[in-house]
């Protein structure tokens, strides 16, 4: 290994973000369903949230002056990586319970892994973030693992 990752960067593995608690509204479900081209009435009417709605519910709402010049919000869970160009990433999601209007949901994000690999045109950094979404009874609603690659 070329040893791109310093002990300081690696020390962020296991870091957990502050939990975020949000309420699900019928209007938000309807907006999400329409914007995604959905055509099933249970979602368009907002009776139940379509899969992937948790992405909408927990996308970081940051003030305009905290966005970077390209309009992206800076993820405070992540250390400053020595490589910065983001490549394709992957998602692994398990859906445990349906989401309905009136549900209060809490998301907790953890940086679960950081590692490097030799790519065809140079080193690559991989990192994994685990997001757990639970209801107020503590039951798991969605669990999502994101893997991102930097070059």
């Amino acid at each position: 290994m070329s040893g791109l990752l310093s002990d300081e960067v690696l020390s962020h593995i296991g870091r957990e973000g502050a939990p975020r608690r949000e309420i699900v509204t019928r209007r938000d479900i309807r907006k999400y369903a329409i914007a995604t081209d959905n055509r099933q009435s249970k979602y368009l009417d907002g009776d139940v949230a379509p899969p992937l709605f948790h992405l909408h519910l927990f996308w970081d709402v940051v003030p305009l002056n905290e966005l970077s010049p390209d309009g992206v919000s800076i993820d405070s869970l992540l250390p400053k990586f020595p490589l910065e160009k983001a490549m394709a990433g992957g998602l692994d999601i398990r859906y445990c319970k349906p989401i309905r209007p009136g549900d209060w949901l809490t998301a907790t994000r953890t940086l679960t892994n950081v590692y490097e690999k030799a790519g065809r045109s140079g080193p690559l950094i991989f990192y994994e973030v685990l997001m757990e979404v639970r209801d107020d009874g503590g039951e798991l609603v969605v669990i999502e693992k994101t893997t991102r690659i930097l070059r």
Binding site: D37, L64, G71, L91
Partner: protein, 137 residues
Amino acid sequence: MTLAPTVGMTIPQREHYCDEVQQMLYNASLWNGHRIHFDMPYATEVEGYPGLVVAGPLMGDWLHQVVDEWLGDAGMITGIEYSNRVAAFVGETVTAGGTVTAYDEATGEVTLEVFVKNDRDEVLTPGVITAKLERER
């Protein structure tokens, strides 16, 4: 409705036209201000893309939808693994579809290989979805 999945069967495909207004509403609904999705001079001159980039998770949503429409009220999606490999651009029409790769009649668990592809047949977003069918009563 009863579904009778068999390994190797394809599910009905769906086309999506990637429209500017939809991109704007989708990204606004998330609070995603990334300029590559709405700022044409930035996307083309600064980032070097041929046009406005379709949001990756929107194509992830279309993977879910093509299976969810096939399932109707007969079952629920229980999981997905997917990655955004190739970008799509506003003005393109993309197609979502899938093939059943496993089905366990005893548990009702069905697995599908799914994709979003462009009109050059390039797979942009490959994935695997698992779903659970309701048992007959």
